[in-house]
């Protein structure tokens, strides 16, 4: 039995909203003529979230409910990763467990995937949050777009849809859920962005407070490195090593110049600097060789991502196009 659609919600202390969330998602799914499932991931809640979720009906018409329980709170990324791992649908949709996203948007996402996109990202264009949360997130999104080269307006929006075989190959760890679009670009994903409705919180307080800037900054640098590494294993080290060696050369010239000069003043100083930056350059070259070693020994881990990126380019003959258009008219959504 194949499942067409899985909706994944991480839940953390959502006892007030879990039943409401279930109903609203189920109602939307029932309107679609699909075999679907809801995956709730209980992220180590300390309240009655898990008990309440377990008491919900497991099967309602063609909507199945599956609950994944963590022993402790691992955070949103881990919860999403676990949900993605356990979901069996062909298309996966992730959304917040706190009713901030509107399940009514699900059909829009599905349509976008059917149109041939691998990843559809929600954009909360009218955010119902205080400016102190919106502003840092805008800066972060702009920065993420610049560094990763994947300009997504709202990386923080949990409401996203994925082609399952793509997202299941993307490694998610630490707090990387923010960078799913960037990570997906590793696999050459076709990304689409659509506007979604956003509701203010109805229950409880915000659980994933905006993380400190430096964390995003460090994560971003790490992601940038990973993206570059995947394409060219010894990229940035080469550049830094080269500029360090250049600096060393300049200092050497200055040292020689000073030593020849009448006063012979700062020759030792520049000599020292030259040696220092020279040694840094050499260190980085060796580090670059180390990355080559890591690359060759771990290449099989990057392989699936590559395989997804490689797609046959189909050049249609006019007959094919005609045949397919008549087929799609009869088949509808497949």
């Amino acid at each position: 039995m194949t499942v067409d659609l899985s909706v994944i919600c991480p839940l953390y202390n959502e006892e007030e909203s879990v039943a409401l969330l279930y109903e609203s998602i189920r109602d939307v799914l029932l309107t679609l003529d699909l075999r679907s499932e809801i995956v709730f991931v209980d992220d180590g809640s300390s309240d009655r979230t898990f008990e309440l979720a377990s008491s919900l009906p497991r099967q309602a018409d063609n909507v199945h409910l599956r609950i994944v329980k963590f022993r402790r709170n691992y955070g949103q990324t881990a919860a999403m990763a676990a949900g993605i791992e356990c979901a069996v649908g062909r298309v996966l949709i992730t959304m917040d467990g706190d009713l901030q996203n509107d399940p009514g948007d699900i059909p829009l996402f599905l349509a976008e995937i059917e149109r041939g996109h691998d990843l559809v990202v929600g954009w909360r264009h009218k955010r119902q949050d205080h400016w102190s949360r919106v502003l840092p997130s805008k800066v972060a999104n702009w920065l993420i777009g610049k560094v990763t080269g994947v300009p997504v307006k709202d990386n923080g929006c949990s409401l996203k849809a994925y082609r399952a075989d793509l997202i299941k190959e993307i490694p998610l760890y630490s707090e990387m859920h923010r960078f799913i679009p960037a990570m997906s670009s590793l696999a050459g994903a076709k990304i689409s962005e659509i506007k979604v409705r956003h509701h203010a919180r109805r229950f409880g307080s915000s659980k994933y407070g905006f993380s400190r800037i430096y964390k995003v900054f460090l994560d971003l640098l790490a992601i940038g490195t990973l993206l570059a590494f995947n394409k060219r294993p010894s990229f940035w080290l080469g550049a830094v090593a080269a500029s360090s060696l250049l600096l060393s050369m300049i200092c050497l010239v200055l040292a020689a110049f000073d030593a020849l000069g009448p006063e012979g003043s700062s020759g030792i100083l520049f000599g020292g600097l030259s040696a220092l930056f020279g040694s840094l350059g050499i260190f980085l070259i060796f580090l670059g060789l180390l990355t080559q070693l890591i690359y060759t020994t771990t290449i099989r881990h990057f392989d699936p991502v590559r395989r997804l990126a490689a797609r046959p380019v189909i050049v249609d003959s006019p007959d094919d196009i005609a045949a397919r258009s008549s087929l799609s008219q009869t088949k509808g959504m497949a």
Binding site: G44, A53, S54, R58, H64, R66, I67, V68, K69, F70, R71, R72, N73, Y74, T77, A78, A79, A81, A82, C86, P171, L172, Y173, S174, E175, Y214, K215, L218, D219, L221, A222, T225, L226, F229, W236, L237, V240, S244, S265, S266, I268, L269, G272, L273, L276, F277, S279, L280, F283, L284, L287, L290, T291, I294, T298, H301, F302
Partner: protein, 307 residues
């Protein structure tokens, strides 16, 4: 108590113990009243011929026990991991090859295991206490890791099966087992027990090793999934400090014409820039390694799935 529950007892043997038969019989006598079926596993860590021979004798004499032997010494934590692989019990108890607590306390610890995943014995009166009354090792661990455990070096612990299965230990990490278990979401409880003065334990190994172990544990517990947060934090701090000092020196040189030759500080600040870049580079390599192996070492442990 349910019938036919099994308790596996893992005893890493680190020393020559010709009298291990006495130890075995005292452990056995102490644990039989619990009603569990007992599975004794002795892991002889390294070439301890006398211990091994004594255990062989014991087994030939009809005792039911399992003997595992490392051909060389891999340390207590690895010995425990080896033992865990062979453990069949619903509960796994770890004991030292030198008695550390009074025999009558063992059964009590096993009983406590019904409530929490890890039961840790806290010896009373404490063993190896510094004259100040504070255990140095635990104090240091608390300082670095914020642990609330006050007798981490006690080898007497009772673990639920899933703890023994999910946690891999190596090197000297057995000291940190309760902390590692906690980060995996298991509940840990300390139970006060009466200590047995052994006289043999106390200072185990050089102090420097312990300090390094604590730092390693700190890194592994906090940052193993986000190495760049750790390296990057340090690296950028040093880089920024170095950069600022360099900028200041250059500024002073250009504007106020203070000759650089009087300022060896420039060498120091450049050194900091270099060190910062090195730490950052190493951190990025760490991140690449983490990324590559994410699929094999997952962040999270699923307790169960309700269909």
């Amino acid at each position: 108590m349910t019938t036919h529950r099994t308790l596996s007892i893992v005893v890493p043997v680190q020393h020559e113990r010709p009298d291990i038969a006495d130890l075995h019989s005292s452990y056995k006598k102490a644990l039989e009243p619990t009603g569990y079926t007992l599975q004794f596993i002795y892991v002889v860590d390294g070439q301890h011929a006398e211990s091994l021979e004594a255990l062989r004798q014991l087994k030939r004499g009809g005792e039911s026990l399992e003997i595992l032997a490392h051909s060389q010494s891999f340390g207590e934590a690895t010995a425990l991991s080896t033992g865990f692989r062979y453990a069949r019990g619903d509960l796994v108890m770890t004991l030292a090859d030198v008695p550390q607590v009074q025999d009558y306390e063992l059964a009590k610890l096993v009983e406590k295991a019904a409530d929490s995943d890890v039961v840790l014995a806290r010896r009373n009166p404490p063993d190896g206490v510094a004259p100040g009354g504070q255990r140095k090792f635990e104090y240091f661990v608390r300082l670095v890791l914020g642990s609330e455990f006050s007798d981490l070096r006690c080898a007497v612990r009772v673990l639920s099966r899933s703890v023994a299965e999910e946690i891999t230990l190596y090197g000297n990490q057995h000291h940190f087992l309760p902390l590692i278990a906690q980060t995996h979401g298991f509940t840990v409880e300390q139970v006060d027990v009466d200590a047995l003065r052994s006289g043999r334990r106390g200072s185990s190994g050089p102090k420097l090793n312990l300090v390094l172990d604590v730092i390693t544990a700190y890194f592994l517990i906090r940052f193993v999934r986000k190495p760049f947060r750790f390296f990057g934090g340090f690296g950028f701090a040093i880089l920024a400090l170095g950069g600022l000092i360099t900028a200041y020196l250059v500024f002073v040189r250009l504007v106020f014409d203070v000759p650089l030759i009087d300022r060896p500080a420039l060498i120091l600040s450049s050194l900091m820039v270099v060190l910062g870049i090195q730490i950052i580079s190493v951190g990025l390599i760490g991140e690449i390694i983490t990324f590559a192996f994410t699929k094999e070492h997952k962040d999270y442990k699923i307790e169960r799935i309700v269909e």
